[in-house]
């Protein structure tokens, strides 16, 4: 039947070079940077840890805390407020803390130290719960077991990896085999009982904690291994050595890929976006974002000083902060604002849920919310859920929103001059493509001349201004030329009557001259390049 009126399709011009991808836009949307000096002595921020989400069987509510290790202290930050909550500095006088790690229930923090001691603190009271001094040299990494709350591991410069149980005083297992400092290591996920560690002996070793003894798998690298990170699948491990990151497949027992995107040593690895992105930080001050299926760089961030530690802190399965620790002692926090509306919407959803479940009073009490007088009347019957029927609230009955622009209407009614005026005075963000769309549509309707004719001194000016602005755009040269020629054809005999119009025409001339000169230069360059390429070909032919 009668065809539906659809908005005019916008003209899409070819894209220029170097446009930001959606991915890069996403990473750029981490804004509101916060720069802190947690040590207050500009000690380098060496480690940032964020406990994995607490399993649901734990009764404690996750507090969303993360620990930042710098100098001789570990500072605990709240992810919600971005403010330090606690500071733990009960380390030795000259001791430097390493790798402060909060247990996933948020109660206990463990950290190593330069002295070789490992200390466990109660997060609330900051009391020292346990101190182990078994390592002979400094402990660089301590990690909690992913499932078992009392187990932990440590990596030390004394070339050992040790496993600990919280109640016992001695290490439960010592894994020997590394030839040099062990600076990184962690549990493999999914209760495999595997441990991975990286050392300055340029190897990444996999240990089986159930068996003990020697490493079950060794990957040799070209340089000292600075960081290791298991993938959530448990089948791959990422290892940073020098300026490369290698992807190691532990099922096939071979490296899959080497990422050589950094200029200097890669110091830290972190997963983001639920494991679909990898962020690497290096001494070159760059954070690079890789996608984890084909390991392409999809985004990057720049920091002013070498990066020592990096962590993406998530909340509700969404990336929330990018926390980066710098050599200069600065902790940089960038946060992606989820938007107030989003939060409001969530609040409203909760409220509606409470209403439906009949807990609205309870909810109001919790929120300390008072409702106005008409409230009872407004919601009357809305909470009726009797007779097992679902309440269906129909979608908006206004019908489809008319997306036609004001000029679209004028165009359809044949008011071509009006349509052109409307689009030229449009203040929309996409006013420029809109104008091109309208002018193209006028050309298609053989109405360009009609739209341009019968204009006076005032109404001609926007068109001339548009021409002046758009003469240099090589993508629409034909269109601009046509409009300009039509205008000149129509108004040539009127020139000299209005100073404004004359001035604009003069400007247009100037601009055209500039563009012509630019194209001349381009021709010259092309000629030279052609000559060079022909010469090169001839040279090749001669060599053969």
């Amino acid at each position: 039947m009668a065809a539906e009126v659809l908005p005019l399709q916008a003209v899409k011009l070819p894209k220029g070079p170097a446009t930001a991808s959606a991915e890069q836009n996403y990473w750029n949307s981490f804004t509101s940077p916060l720069q802190l000096d947690p040590s207050q002595q500009s000690s380098p921020v060496t480690y940032i840890s964020f406990p994995a989400a607490a399993p649901s069987n734990l009764t404690v509510s996750p507090q969303e805390l993360f620990a930042v290790t710098t100098g001789s202290r570990v500072q605990i930050f709240s992810s919600k407020t971005r403010k330090p909550v606690k500071t733990i500095n009960r380390f030795g006088v000259d001791d430097i803390a390493h790798s402060g790690n909060i247990r996933r229930d948020g109660r206990i923090l463990v950290a190593g130290g330069d002295s070789g001691a490992i200390q466990a603190f109660d997060v609330n009271s900051r009391a020292i719960l346990k101190t182990w001094k078994e390592h002979k040299q400094s402990v660089w990494r301590t990690e909690w077991h992913p499932t078992n709350l009392t187990e932990l591991m440590s990596c030390s410069d004394d070339r050992t990896v040790r496993l600990w149980d919280l109640p016992s005083d001695k290490s439960t297992m010592t894994l020997n085999g590394h030839q040099d400092y062990v600076r990184c290591g962690t549990y493999m996920p999914a209760q495999s009982g595997l441990i991975v560690s990286g050392s300055y002996d340029q190897t990444v070793r996999l240990w089986d904690s159930r068996v003990g003894g020697n490493a079950v798998m060794i990957f040799k690298h070209a340089a000292a291994v600075e960081a290791v990170l298991p993938m959530p699948s448990g089948t791959a491990v990422l290892a940073a050595s020098d300026n490369t990151v290698s992807v190691l497949d532990i099922v096939a027992a071979k490296p899959v890929q080497v990422l050589r995107n950094h200029q200097k040593t890669v110091t830290s690895l972190s997963l983001a976006s639920n494991g679909s992105r990898l962020l690497t930080g290096g001494l070159d001050g760059h954070v690079k974002v890789f996608e984890t299926s084909a390991w392409n760089v999809v985004g990057q961030l720049k920091y002013p000083s070498p990066i020592l530690s990096l962590s993406v802190i998530s909340s509700n399965n969404e990336d929330k902060h990018i926390a980066v620790g710098l050599q200069s002692g600065i902790l940089s926090l960038r946060t992606r604002l989820s938007g107030q509306q989003k939060a409001l919407a969530r609040e409203r959803e909760k409220e509606m849920k409470a209403l439906m479940e009949g807990r609205i009073e309870e909810y109001d009490r919790a929120k300390k919310r008072k409702r106005g007088k008409g409230w009872e009347k407004r919601i009357r019957g809305k909470d009726f859920t009797g007779e097992g029927a679902d309440i269906v609230i129909e979608g908006n009955a206004r019908g489809r929103v008319n997306k036609n622009r004001p000029w679209g209407h004028a165009l359809r009614w044949g008011q071509y001059g009006k349509a052109l005026d409307l689009v030229l005075e449009s203040k929309d963000g996409d006013a420029r493509p809109q104008t091109i769309t309208v002018l193209t549509a006028l050309t298609h309707r053989s109405a360009l001349r009609t739209a341009l004719s019968n204009r006076d001194e005032v109404t001609l000016q926007p068109i001339l201004r548009w021409l002046i602005r758009n003469v240099p755009d090589c993508r629409i040269t034909r269109l601009v030329t046509d409009v300009a020629l039509q205008v000149l054809d129509l108004y040539a005999d009127q020139l000299g009557r209005s100073p404004e119009v004359d001035m604009l025409v003069e400007q247009l001339m100037q601009r055209v001259k500039v563009v012509v000169e630019a194209s001349q230069v381009a021709w010259n360059v092309m000629g030279m390049v052609n000559m060079l390429s022909v010469g090169a070909e001839a040279g090749d032919a001669a060599l053969e």
Partner: protein, 946 residues
Amino acid sequence: MNESTSIPEQDQSTVDAHKQEIIKTEGAVKAKPKKSKKKAGSRWSWSPSIGGWFLSQDPVFTSDEKYLLLSSPKALHVYATDTSTLLRTLSKPSSFISAYAVSATNPNHVYTANETGLITLWDWTEGKTVGRWDIGSNVRNISVVRDPATDLDLVYSHESSSSHFVHVHALRTREQGAPTELKPIFKRKAPISGMQVLLDGKIVVIAIQKSVLIGKRTKLGKTALQDYEYVWREFQTAKRVTTFDAHVRTADAEGKTSGEGDHIDLAVGDQDGVISLFEDILSSLNRIEKGRKDASKADTADAELLRPKRLHWHRQAVASVKWSRDGNYLISGGAETVLVLWQLSTGKQQHLPHLTAAIENIVVSPSGASYSVTLANNSVVVLSTTELEAKMNIIGVQSRRVDMEQFPRGSEPSKYPSDIFAPVPMVVNPAKPSQVLFTVPSSQPRHENAGRRPEPYLQTFDVATQHNVSRQALTRNNATDPNMSPEGKRIDEPNVTFIQLSSDGKWLATVDEWTPPRSYMAFLDEGTPEFHEQERDFRREIYLKFWQWDEKSSQWVLESRIDNPHLLEDVGANARILDVVADPSGTGFATIGEDRSLRIWRPKTRTRAGVTVRGADKKGEGLVTWSLHRSLQLPQSLDALHTEQSEPEQSEHTSLLSHRRPQHNHVAFSSDGSLIAAAVSDTETGVIHILDAATATIRRSITELSLARVSALGILHTNLLIITDSLLIWDLVADELIRCIPLSISPSLSPVIHLSINPSSNSFALAQPHFELNATSTVKEAQRYMKPATSVSVYNLTEEKAVWETTVSSFILALVCEKQGRGFVGLDQNCCIRVLEPEVSSAAALPAAGAEEVPVEAAAGVEKMEVEEELEESEEENETAVPGLESLLSGESLLLHAENDKPVVRPEQLQEVFYAGGGLGMLPPVRELFDRVVGLYARKPRTVVA
């Protein structure tokens, strides 16, 4: 000579003038659709034609409004209004219908008339002929009223020979016992454009060019036909009358009894879009006549003296105007594609806009509950009067129609618009082999003679069920935009020049072109036409579009659009695409352009920074982009022959600037997709390159042949088929010419030769359009235009000469090969689709006929009766209306009469049974068919409901 040419004043004895039911043979009918000189071993035949443009006459509602009668030149169709299904087709082979009208006395009877003067009375409910008469003249229009004296039909017919007549016929059959009579009532040299008979023949209104005549019968007391006398009153209008409608005002509406006469209101639409409304026209004419008694004999009046109401909204000619049943509204329509309802008492208008095509006819149903609107895209819509919602939609084949009468009589074929016979892009869907896709214009008004219209739409037509499947736009269009520029010129949409389907039927590639009209370029005009044309070429927009079939919405969805796929780099202008072919082995298309470059396009899964981009709706499927896969600049013929250096570029450059020679570049894929043949040729020279499809490198260049004006190219197995001024077959393996068959083609028609290759039957068909001089004996001198014809020949590789040849009396605009059959599908200028297939042996052909009857007899008593009737009549003639296969298949007719406990069989189910084979005419064995049909009808009703 018969009486139709005699003048009205003569007294006549008419009984013997008519031959009653005399024609026993079809020998007298001169209009033969084709003459085929078959060879002894002819094994190919054309199927009956499908489609055709509906007649310009108003469609007719039956009195109960359950059916709509609509006629194409070939057959009269009966459609059910509630389901839009074709119920019955009434046709005789080899006769064209020119007019039809429902009997006034028996609503089940309908008259059809043809150009040779043969009037047939049908019983359309049963599909049989009741009577036939030959009145021996060219009938243009008929109207039937009830004779008050005898209660039988009187047929008013508008006939034409050297001048135009209106005759009244009393056509009587043997059973009625009365004699068949004729009475001429009107004669005029000028052509009659419309005729309306009111009040059982008391009033006759006729429109002739710029005047309207109203005839009133005198001596109403005398009822014999020979006493029918009319007094004609004429008035002139300012512009040519395009349409009119008269309405009889009922007495009670007036309030007082109209003793002295009938009140006739007349609405006249003219060429300028003005509707003039004459209220009570008879009395005003009387008044004027009385007013100037002295100027006796002046029986023509000026329309202005009658003081009509002027209703002017239409910008262009009013195509149709009709009164509502109560006389309070006028309904009009025209080229604006807007249906306008005028409320006469208040002057308010109501509009139904955006009907996508010009309105041709409007009919108000007998009860006034619905309007039938005939659109200029060969479709009929029935709207409910209250909501203006479509109740029924009948869509025919909408492809380009070339009406030879549009051209000036006696003009040379070379003066016809050059591209009017250009090939219509058409393909058969490999996924659904009974569906044919072709491009169609948005609207083709009958009265407009403005050259070729662009074809921005794609129509999918099912040849097996003879139904329109879908229609969608391929380019921007004017469906909701003004179709007229400010200067009053028609705005042309882009024209789709090529469509191709990938071998799996999932991808559609289309090429569309748009060039600004010449008038638009006026601001650049410097008086040199070459410069002007060149500037137009620079502003040409060419898009190559790739569409994916979307099963959910059952339409093609645009996936990629390539702007300017070919470029003339040195001048920075878009080059036209001259040929597109689909890769038969994989998904891909090859194009060749004016720039002499061959480009191969293939799909790519879209990635963003290495990650596959997945669509939101298609689960897990990566989005696909089409992009240029290979590109190769093909050397020009002479260069390849003589010099291998880059000297030609210079000459090319200059030739481009001065004038470009028309190019005849073509491209073809071998059936395994490994080889591409690309012809680069112009009017003087040419060369064919054989390329490796995977790498797009030239393996061999054929320069030994004279290859100017290559008009088609194809590869059949290992043979390259080239059409130039002769048919060349080149063996690619032996690398030699194996056959050369000269063809007689005039150079102007060489671009419209069609070559189609069907590998499954190892044959190829060649359609060569040409003009024939009219057979002088039958047609008058005035109609001495050239007759179009197409000679179609089928070749295969084993035989030296054509296997089969025939000449069709129309231009074939497209010829493609069937995808699951051994034949070819052709589309001609009259919008008829015909299938050319090798004849199957009689044993295999029989099941189709047998199987048709089985379900019908088992299912519905009505149809069964008809079969019996047919048997009774069989001694009379064999050509009584055999219901078309489609009317049986439509199944809705069966439903209408079926009892409640009968199983419900939907037409699609039956269609599945009959077209399970897929290909046309490839039915499974009889037994299987029978079992399946019985299976459908013998089910228990319960299971059907579920």
